[in-house]
């Protein structure tokens, strides 16, 4: 973490190389959050770039009271929520985006497809997992944005309750209750697919 601080200090002084190092360190996390929130790789890349640019321009406001990762998670989370709210205000583009997302969900399992193409063993199981991933991604997008975000932060990104509370500036109890409701709703939605397995 001290390494993050020194990189942040150098980036704040105009060292773009230092910021690129920070980007490499956190790009996977930021991109995953964007991808799971949006369901589209291209859009997720754009959003991830915007998040990182926003972080770079806001480096002056980073006082070091918290860790850089927490600060970045906070920026990323709020940017995702704001972007989704803005998209919801544009019904035409959002419907188009939903269709594109539905089509591209299948692209979000490159590992399974690649393994199938390579003739890997247990091809049926791989296909089933890829199908399940597509369904999970699709059902994730049917959750409320704040529920979806908290679920992704906890169950995919692996943040603790405390980190989520810091990033979203919420009480721990609120995080706990929202996470429970999000999980139960997703479980209800996924149960038909899980029963058929």
């Amino acid at each position: 973490m001290d390494e993050d601080r020194s990189l942040v200090d150098r980036a704040r002084a105009g060292d773009t190389q230092a910021f690129e190092t920070l980007v490499r360190r956190y790009q996977r996390w930021v991109f995953t959050l964007a991808l799971r929130m949006l369901g589209d790789r291209a859009e997720a890349e754009d959003m991830a770039q915007e998040i990182l640019l926003k972080a770079y321009r806001g480096l002056g406001r980073f006082k070091g009271a918290s860790r850089f990762s927490t600060w970045l998670y906070s920026i990323a989370s709020h940017h995702c929520l704001n972007s989704l709210q803005a998209r919801r205000r544009r019904p035409a583009s959002s419907s188009g985006g939903a269709m594109r997302s539905q089509a591209r969900v299948e692209e979000d399992s490159p590992t399974a497809v690649d393994q199938l193409a390579n003739g890997a063993p247990r091809a049926d199981a791989m296909l089933e997992r890829a199908e399940l991933a597509r369904v999970v991604q699709a059902e994730l997008r049917n959750l409320r944005a704040d529920h979806r975000l908290i679920l992704i932060l906890r169950d995919i990104q692996g943040l603790s309750y405390e980190e989520i509370a810091d990033a979203l500036r919420l009480e721990l109890g609120t995080v706990r209750s929202r996470l429970h409701r999000a999980r139960m709703e997703l479980k209800t939605r996924l149960t038909p697919y899980l029963k058929s397995e």
Binding site: V23, R28, Y56, Q137, L151, I156
Partner: protein, 396 residues
């Protein structure tokens, strides 16, 4: 513990946030309740499916692209940079442009008379009329040396274009037309100084004007017979006077033929005198029984302003002055001219009566015929009664 309470704790149970008695109670309930156990199994499967999504990698070169976007200046930054940098080039260019704009502004100001006159109007300390006062008043004895104001300004500023003067002339013309009272104030500036032997001509003129406003003898009598032209259209017709007043400073002086006296000299210098001045001066002289001067002024008035509406009255008074001077033949000539040239004038009864009397005084019996004509043509006129008396007395 009820099933609902157990299922509410699934999330904490999954995250291993339960411990102690709650964990024991829920574990025992799940061991005994098949439905809750199935629900718990579905819950775990769903959560595992979500976890299996895992993290995703962005495309290759993502970090480099982010860096490039960071290093690419924004549109506003590009504008600022392009406007100011490099300083060693842009600053001299901008300074030069500023100088050019300032130079163009000065040039525009110098080449635009309207702009200059506009600023002169606000910055000139003294009005031009006041400056002209001593200039327009000619010396009493010498020839007129008055320069027109426009000419004076042209000499003061030779570089100024000629069209600078018309607006002022037009302004003065407008002033004369619109405000006779103002014209009266300007009039002394243009009037030549009176000669030493004629005291206070302006005062007498004003007095005579006052007298024309009141019934008086002989003027008042004439006004009873017929309203004087001064009332009917004289001073109240500034449109006829204004062009003459304007033309005075610019017209070439036409000296009268061989002025014989101081009064004649005044008249000669009086090219600048207006019709009003001549007429009222003549009236004033007549009232003061200075008939010789009155005759000169009336004569000058008739000669110089033959189209003035007061000419009939001036001719009648001129003839009266001749009568007063006992120059009856000239008086008869003037009465005859009046009767001949203004047959419709309201002054005609008076003119006929006086003509008859003058002829009779000369021993001319045709005066009786003039009186008869008066009685025939104007039987209701006051002069008709006088004519009857005269006829009965002098034309038996």
């Amino acid at each position: 513990m009820k099933c609902d309470q157990v299922r509410q704790a699934f999330s904490d149970l999954y995250d291993e946030r339960l411990s102690g008695p709650p964990l024991v109670t829920i574990t025992q309930h799940l061991a005994t309740c098949q439905d809750c156990r199935a629900e718990w199994a579905d819950f775990r499967k769903a959560m595992l499916a979500v976890s299996d999504l895992g993290r995703a990698e962005p495309s290759l070169g993502f970090a480099a692209r982010v860096r490039r976007r960071i290093e690419t200046p924004t549109r506003f930054q590009r504008f600022l940079h392009g406007f100011f940098f490099p300083l060693r080039v842009k600053v001299p260019i901008q300074a030069l442009a500023l100088l050019l704009v300032a130079f163009a502004g000065v040039l525009l100001y110098q080449r635009s008379p309207e702009l200059r006159r506009g600023t002169d109007l606000y910055s000139a300390p003294a009005p031009p009329v006041g400056r002209e006062v001593p200039v327009t008043r000619p010396a009493p004895a010498g020839p007129p040396v008055t320069k027109p104001p426009a000419e004076e300004r042209l000499q003061a500023r030779p570089s100024e274009p000629v069209p600078a003067s018309p607006p002022r002339a037009a302004l003065e013309g407008e002033r004369d037309r619109a405000a006779p009272a103002f014209r009266d104030e300007v009039k002394p500036l243009e009037k030549p100084a009176p000669p030493a032997d004629v005291p206070k001509t302006e005062e007498t003129a004003r007095e005579s004007r006052a007298k024309t406003a009141e019934p008086d003898v002989p003027v008042g009598r004439l006004r009873q017979v017929a309203p004087p032209a001064a009332e009917s259209g004289g001073p109240a017709a500034p449109s006829q006077l204004a062009p003459k007043a304007l033309a005075v400073p610019q017209a070439a002086p036409k000296p009268r033929e061989a002025p014989a006296s101081g009064k004649e000299a005044q008249t000669s210098a009086g090219q600048l005198r207006s019709a009003d001045e001549l007429y009222f001066d003549a009236l004033a002289d007549s009232a003061r029984q200075r008939y010789d001067r009155s005759i000169e002024d009336f004569r000058a008035f008739i000669d110089q302003h033959p189209r003035d509406t007061r000419v009939p009255e001036a001719r009648l008074r001129l003839a009266d002055a001749y009568v007063a001077e006992r120059r009856l033949a000239e008086a008869v000539q003037e009465y005859e001219t009046l009767v001949r040239e203004f047959p419709g004038s309201p002054l005609l009864p008076a003119a006929l009566f006086k003509l008859g009397q003058a002829r009779l005084d000369l021993g001319d019996r045709s005066g009786c015929q003039s009186l008869r004509n008066l009685i025939v043509r104007y039987p209701q006129a006051p002069e008709a009664a006088l004519a009857r008396e005269t006829l009965s007395a002098r034309c038996p």
